[in-house]
Amino acid sequence: MAINILMPALSPTMEEGNLAKWMVKEGDSVESGDILCEIETDKATMEFEAVDEGVIGKILIAEGSEGVKVNTPIAVLLEEGESADAAPAAAPAAAAPRAEEAPAPAAATPVASTPVEQDLPAGTTFKSQTVREAIRDAMSEEMRRSADVFLMGEEVAQYQGAYKVSQGMLDEFGPKRVIDTPITEHGFTGIAVGAAFAGLNPIVEFMTFNFAMQAIDQIINSAAKTRYMSGGQMTCPIVFRGANGAASRVGAQHSHDYATWYAQVPGLKVVMPYSADDYKGLLKSAIRDPNPVIFLENEILYGRSFDVPEIEDYTVPIGKARIWREGDDVTIVSFGIGMQYALEAADKLAEEGISAEVIDLRSLRPMDTETVLKSVMKTNRCVTVEEGFPVASIGGYISATIMQEAFDYLDAPVINCAGKDVPMPYAANLEKLALVTTEEVISAVKSVTYR
C-alpha cells in the first residue's frame, strides 16, 4: 500500500524547513537507507533517508521549496506494481495518545505588542532578523571593531555553531579568532579567563549553560572575584554566552535555567534578553564591557524574528529594563523567554479589560528595580514570570524588593509565576506542566486584581 513520506523534524524545536534538493525522481526504486532528499533549516542540513523500500510514485513538494511544515507529505512511496493513484489523499499527522492535553506548539510568530519607550532617533528603519542572526551580527561587528575580540567554544568554527549562531564567522575571521575547542569546558573557560586577564576580549560560547556547570568554578572564583581580590588592579573583560533554560524535550540535564545562579554573584554582570534587537544591542555592550558578562540566550528564541533597528553600531546599555507595554492595572515583570508568556497574557487580559504594564528586565545584574518599583507604585500590583525554579528565584527577589521599597503601594501580594520545583521531565505533557504558561500568568493577574 502507498505510503506518504513526511517532512521530518531535524531537531526538537524545528517547525518547518526547506526541501533543498531531491536525490531521487518519480519512478525510481528505493531501498531503506537510500538518500531521498536534502532538508535544511536555519541551523542544520540533513540528508533524509528512505525507511521503507518501494518506488517513488509522486513528488509532492518540489525541490527548492521553503517553509515546508514538519509532517507535511513530501512524496508518495508505492509498493512494486502499485499505481500512483493509490496514494492516500492527505496524511493524517501522527497523533500520539495523550494523558491529558496535547502540548501546543510554541508560538512561531512574535507577539503583536509594540515596544514603547524605545529611545531611537526619528526616522529609524528596522529589519526583521532572527535572534540567531542578531547575535552573530553583534559578535561580527565587535570583532571587526577590535582585533582583541575573539570567539571560542565547541563547534563554533567549522561546524558553524551547534545552533548555527556563528555561521560564516570562520570564513570572515579565520581559525585564530574563531576557535573550535575540545569538549573541555573547565579547561577552555580557564584559558579564556587567563586571556582576558592578559587584556584580550574573549567571547566564550557554551553550547548550553548546562555544560558551563563544568566551568562554573572558573566563572565565579576566577572571573568574577579577581577584580575585588586584586584591589581593583585586574580586569576580566570576557563574555560567557550560550543557550540557557528549557529548549524542547531535551530532558533535565539540558533544560536548566541558571539565571538566578549567576545573578547572585558580585563581580558579574548578567543579561538575559528576549527580543533580537536587545540581543544585538546588549551583546555588543557586553563585549565592550570591561567586566565578565554572563549572556543567557534561549534556544527556542534563536529562530524567532523581531524588528532590529538599522542603526550603525546599535548598542543597548546593560542594567536598564524595557517597558514593552504600558498599563495601569498590574505590572508584569519578566525576562528572557518568560516575556513571551507575559506579553501573551497582557494581550489576552486586554481583551478582558485588564490593562497590564509589561516590563522586560533584560539585565538581571545589575537589575533595574527602579523601573519595576516606579511601575508598581502606579499599578499597585505585580506578577513576575520566569521559567527557572521557584525557590530563591528572580521573582522572589523582586517581591522582597517591592515589599521593602513600596509596601504601602501594594494592593495585593506579589505572585511569582515560575517553573515547577522539579527536574525537567521528558514526556511532552509533563514538560509542558513543568514550565510556566500564559494561563498561569493570566490567572495570577486575575488573582492580584481580585477579578
Binding site: 587567563g194 586571556a195 580586569t235
Partner: protein, 337 residues
C-alpha cells in the same frame, strides 16, 4: 622597590659559576626565607589572619626560574604565593601589608595572603582553588600566542593540583595550540597532609604531559642552579613556538601546609633530614664560600640587609591603616567606558 627584579642578563654558566649571579640567588632566596619567617611570627602575634601558606624550603624554584624571565613574561600560582611575588620583584612591604589586611597591601587589604596581583610585574595571582591557576596560566600564554610575541607564561602548581582534571584539559589544549607555557609542578611531596604516594597512581609527575606530547623533566628543586638550567631549556622551547613544557621540581616544604598543621603526616626526622642535607640556601652559601666568591663577612652584610628589608616590611604592614570602610563596595566592577 626594596628588592630589584633581576632578569636574565647572562646565559647560564653552571660549570663556570658566576659570582654575581650566585650572590643574587643567595640574596633573593634569603629574602623569601626571612620574609616568611617574619610572616609566621606576625601570624603568631595575631597580625595576620586566616590562611597563611609559607614557602620556606622551596625558595630555589622561583628564584632559579625567574632568572630566565624577561620583560612581558607572566607568572601565576596557587595560594602559596609569597615567594613568587618576591622573586618577580614585587615590593615586600606591599606583600606583607596585604598579609596584615591593610590599605598598603597589593590588593589594598581585600585579597589577603592567597590573593595578590601585580599588573606591573605581570603577576596574575594568588589563586585559592587548587589547580585553577593552570588554565589561567595557559590563557596568559594564549594571549602571547594570539599577539604573536615571544613571551612565555609560568604556571606554577603543586603535586596536589597535578591530579586535578582541569590540568589535563589544559595540557591538551596547550599542546594542541602550542601555547608558550612552562608548567612548573612544585612537588613538595605533600598535598596538604596527603603524601604523593597516597594520592598519585604514578609518582613521576614530569611524565604527566606525555599523553599530550608535552616534554617534561624532573629537576632538583633544591638546587637553584639546576632549576635555572632546566628553566632555560623550557623557556627556550616555549619562545621558539614549540609549545608547552613541564618541569617537575622536587622540593620540600619545611613548614606546615598552612599555619595550623597537625604535623602528624610526616616525621620530625624526615623534615630535619631535608633541612640538614638539601637546604637550597645552605647549598648556595656553600658554593659561595668554598668557591671563595664570598667570605662569611660578605654574607653577613647580605643577611643584615635582608633583615632590614624584612623589618621595614613588617613595620609598614603593622602601621599601614586598615582599609576605609567605604572600600567595602569598591573594586567589584570596572567602570564601563
Amino acid at each position: 622597590m626594596a628588592s630589584a627584579k633581576k632578569t636574565a642578563k647572562k646565559p647560564a654558566k653552571t660549570s663556570n659559576l658566576d659570582k654575581e649571579e650566585l650572590l643574587e640567588f643567595y640574596r633573593e632566596m634569603l629574602l623569601i626565607r626571612r620574609f616568611e619567617e617574619k610572616a609566621g611570627q606576625l601570624y603568631g602575634m595575631g597580625l595576620i589572619g586566616g590562611f597563611c601558606h609559607l614557602y620556606i624550603g622551596q625558595e630555589a624554584i622561583v628564584v632559579g626560574l625567574e632568572a630566565n624571565a624577561k620583560e612581558g613574561d607572566q607568572r601565576v600560582t596557587s595560594y602559596r604565593d609569597h615567594g613568587h611575588m618576591l622573586a618577580c620583584g614585587m615590593d615586600p612591604k606591599g606583600v606583607m601589608a596585604e598579609l596584615t589586611g591593610r590599605e598598603g597591601g597589593y590588593s589594598r587589604g581585600k585579597g589577603g595572603s592567597m590573593h595578590m596581583f601585580s599588573r606591573e610585574k605581570n603577576f596574575y595571582g594568588g589563586h585559592g582553588i587548587v589547580g585553577a591557576q593552570v588554565p589561567i596560566g595557559a590563557g596568559l600564554a594564549f594571549a602571547n600566542w594570539y599577539r604573536e610575541n615571544d613571551n612565555v607564561s609560568f604556571a606554577y602548581f603543586g603535586d596536589g593540583a597535578a591530579n586535578q582534571g582541569q590540568v589535563y584539559e589544559t595540557f591538551n589544549m596547550a599542546s594542541l595550540w602550542k601555547l608558550p607555557c612552562v608548567f612548573v609542578i612544585e612537588n613538595n611531596k605533600y598535598a596538604m597532609g596527603t603524601s604523593l604516594q597516597r594520592a598519585s597512581s604514578t609518582p613521576d609527575l614530569y611524565t604527566r604531559g606525555a599523553a599530550f606530547g608535552i616534554p617534561g623533566e624532573a629537576v632538583d628543586g633544591m638546587d637553584v642552579l639546576a632549576v635555572k638550567a632546566a628553566g632555560e631549556k623550557a623557556v627556550a622551547h616555549c619562545r621558539a613556538g614549540k609549545g608547552p613544557y613541564i618541569l617537575e621540581m622536587n622540593t620540600y616544604r619545611y613548614r606546615g601546609h598552612s599555619m595550623s598543621d597537625p604535623a602528624k603526616y610526616r616525621t620530625r626526622e624526615e623534615v630535619q633530614k631535608v633541612k640538614e642535607e638539601r637546604d637550597p640556601i645552605d647549598h648556595v652559601r656553600d658554593l659561595l664560600l668554598t668557591g671563595k666568591h664570598a667570605s662569611e663577612a660578605d654574607l653577613k652584610v647580605i643577611d643584615k640587609d635582608i633583615k632590614k628589608i624584612v623589618i621595614e616590611a613588617a613595620d609598614f604592614a603593622s602601621e599601614s591603616p586598615e582599609p576605609a570602610l567605604s572600600e567595602l563596595y569598591t573594586d567589584i566592577l570596572a567602570e564601563a567606558n
